[in-house]
Structure formats: structure tokens, C-alpha cells
Amino acid sequence: MARSDKGKPATPDSPLCILTVIGKDCVGIIAKVSSVMAKANINIIDVSQKIMDQYFVMTMGCDISKTTASMKEIQAKLDRLATALGLQITFQNERIFKMMHRI
């Protein structure tokens, strides 16, 4: 794949990322996360949530093929939101999960 070292597009091969929110459930989590996604032109394709080990866990499947933001920018925005809400938010390319959980 030809591209310079300096360019940092958020989409190497897979345009899908998985956003994870872990913490205490509160009003407006999905709304606030969705707003960050919408501003970055990221399409949310799936949302699931569960209580596990006493944690509220939400995952969002996100299509980042049309985003103009870099992974770093998206993560910085989510970090600010996570601090404000007292949650942990991660945003990772889905390949890491596929590699670890599918043969």
C-alpha cells in the first residue's frame, strides 16, 4: 500500500473500529458519545451494552471510512469526554479483536 510515512489516515485496511465504554452507568452516555462520532463523520453501525463484573460495558461498532479525523484526534476527543463523565473509553481498530477471538 503506497503512502508516505507522515500521513496518518485512520483507515489502514479495515474501516471498522470498536468503541468501548466501561464504568458507571449514567444518563446521556450514548448521546454524548454519538455526538463526538457524528462530528467526526463516523457512522455508528451497532450498539450493545451489558453489565459485567459490576461494570457497565457498552460497545459501538463504528464505520470510519468517511471520517476526516485521525485516530489520534478521535481518541483525544473521547479522552476528554471520558474524563468529564468519569468513564473509560477506548477506540480501537476491530482487527485486534478479530485476531484475538477468531481463528
Binding site: I18, M52, T59, G61, T90, E94, M99, H101
Partner: protein, 453 residues
Amino acid sequence: MTISVEEVFETVNMTLRHNFDIRTVTLGINLKDCMDRNLGAFCRRIRKRIVEKGQQLNRMADQVEDQYGIPITNRRIAVTPVSLLMEPLPQRESTAVRIARELDAAAGKAKIDFIGGFGAMVQKGITRSDRTLMEAIPAALSATNRLCGFLNLASTAAGLNMTAIAEFGGLLKLLARRTKNGIGCAKIAVFANVPEDNPFMAGAHHGIGEPDFSLNVGISGPGVVRSVIDQNPECDLTELSEIIKRTVFKITRAGELIGREMARLMRVDFGIVDISLAATPNAGDSVADIVESMGVSRMGRPGSTAALALLIDAVKKGGSMASGNVGGLSGTFIPVSEDAGMIRAVRSGSLNVEKLEALTSVCSVGMDMFAVPGDTPADVLSAIIADELAIGVANHKTTSVRVIPVPGKKAGQIVHFGGLLGSAPIMKMARHAAPKFIARKGRIPSPIQALRN
């Protein structure tokens, strides 16, 4: 989505709560084509290549880290063994020290924390250049910060080079005296059967069978393994082995993905994934803690060797299912100073030098980062090294020694190295070993196990 919430949670938890990280991405760089009879010209070439590639390595590692959300803790470089590169150059200590400084400065400029390869393969014999490098070790490693050295002093095929082992004891003492708390000795490891693609310091180098560039990955997840053992306090050992295997499979797959992605971005060959469980001084990142979680009351007590054997066997089985490129050391690291559980074991008296040696005969890859009194005689250090390397030679495995004779310290005291190197309790050491045996020098022939053809 094909991945369930549970699976996502498991992966995210590994990094958020159990210190899972890619411990190191190490770029092996061939420098043979930089060789020259002119020292200045040689140094210019190696500097240019290391700075260029080192900066690229850091850039790509940042990018991959952002992409996958798995921290890449260290970015390192390993080069062709320096004694080989020095062959055409004037054979003086100053030559070796100049090259050492050059490698150190290039790594610094590229913001690479450690660069390995200041070493020689002397398992069978010593060339003039090997000798120059060996004698320059105290000066070179005390004049640099980021440079790491290695010597392969033995192999199953060649036996043990006792001449080199006898000399190394003295060199180690000189190096210890030239650096604060003997810390220079933490930057050199001596080996039997050294792997040529090991990504971990201090022994990393780019072997002669390697391509121009090779990207090797060291994963680390003692915290992850310990957590699954803690979640299964009652199961029997067969089941425990299965549980460890499944977990290691997952973390090795992550290592393989990161390694391949890094190699693709850098347009270099992907080398190996080293599946060694590597401890750090951080809480919860301890191999000794895993052994204790398995049910051994304290690391070093009876049961430790069997527990460690089970652990690393399961690690290897899970790892080799996950990646076709498992290599490097891929054993257990139990560095005393870098593992909080090991420090606790030494301080409580449950672990001594003899048991540390016993553990390496089964599964660990060496007696690593242990401190001994500064007045330990050179021949005793050589004798310990000979014993440890003999275990590797006879068992067709890698063994290594990284020992720090700390000047002015006595057994029972503590020395603080700081950072990743941690702190070490000074271990009790025999004052008399085998002076006449070591003074004989020569070579212990290769064992009968070497005749396999």
C-alpha cells in the same frame, strides 16, 4: 457485529487492568555493508542508517499504537554483532569505544531507549576483533547509556569457551567499578545458545543469518495470565494449563498483528514474536506472582520449579498455536530486580542463587538481573557463569547470566537501579568456588548431545 461485548470487554480489560502491552518492537538492522577500513566513514554510515530507521520505527509504533489501542512500551534497535563490524578496523580499545559512542548517540537522536549488538560470538574461539571488543566492554558500556552488549560464550555445538568465561569474570568487575552501583553490568548478558532474533535487551542483536532488516516483537502479559489463574482458584492443574494456553493464544495473536502491521508499514521483513512472559517492577506484572497464584506459598520454595515448568509449557503451546513465527527467547524471564515477587522471595529467604539456577534448568532463560556483593571474586563470577551456561549447552537451550557485583555492598542490602531495572536485594554468594578449574581455561568440548547427524 461479529465480536461480542464479552470478548471486547476481555481484550480491553487486558490493557486497562492487567498491564498487557507489546513490551518491545525491535528492529534488527544489518550493518555489514557499512564496514570500512576507515573508522570515520564507517561511523558516518551506521549513524545515518540508525537515526533514519530509528525515527521511522518510533513514528510507525505511535501510529500502530493509536490504531489498535495496545501500548507499545519500548522501541528498540538491534544491530549486527559489533566485533564482526570491527574486523577491518584498527584493533584498539579506542576503536571499539568510538563505535559504542556512535551507536549510543544515534539511538539517542532517534529517541530509541536501548540499542543492542555490542557483542561477539566467541563460543568456540576468539578473533583479534572479538578480543578488542571484549577488552573494551568496561570502557564502552561505562561511557554510554543506551548501548547493550552480549557475548555468546557457549553453545551445544561448540561447547563452553572457558578461556572467554574466565576473562569475563574480571571484565565484569572492572565494569562494575566504573559505573554507579555497578549498573553498567545490567547492560551486558552472556549466553549459551544465544538466539539471533531475540527482541529483548540486553541480549538483542541482529544475527548473521538475518535479512537486511527484521522486525521482531516481544509481548508481555504476566498480569493477564495471573488474572485468569486468580479467577480459577480451584481447578486442577491440567485445566489450569488449558486456561493459560487459551489466554496466551490471545495475547500472542495481538503481538503477531502488531508485528505484521509494523513490518508492513516499515516495508521490512516480519521476524518473530517472542512469547516470553516478561516481568516489570510494576505491581501485578510479576512472574513470581503467577507461580504464587498457582498455589506455591512463596517463589523459590519447593514446588516453584514444577509450577514454572507448567506455566511456560502452557505459554509455548498457546503461543505456537497463535503464531507460526514464535522465536527469540520464548521462555520465562525471572529477572530478580525487575520482578516485585522475585525481590520479595529473595528478601524473605525463600529464593537463593542455587534455586535461581535450578529454575533455569527447566524453563527460565537465565539467571537475570541479580546483584551480588561487590567483593565477590572474579573467578566466582566466572564459575557461576560456567555452571549456568553448562545447563544451556547440555539441554539444547538458551541460558544466560546478567549479574551485577555491586561495589561496596554486602549480602542483604538493597540497591536501587531505577526505572525498568528496578531494585535488587544483594544475594548471598559463595566466597570460594573453583579457582583452579577456572584458571585451567581452554574449552569444555561440546556434549555428546551435539552429535545428532
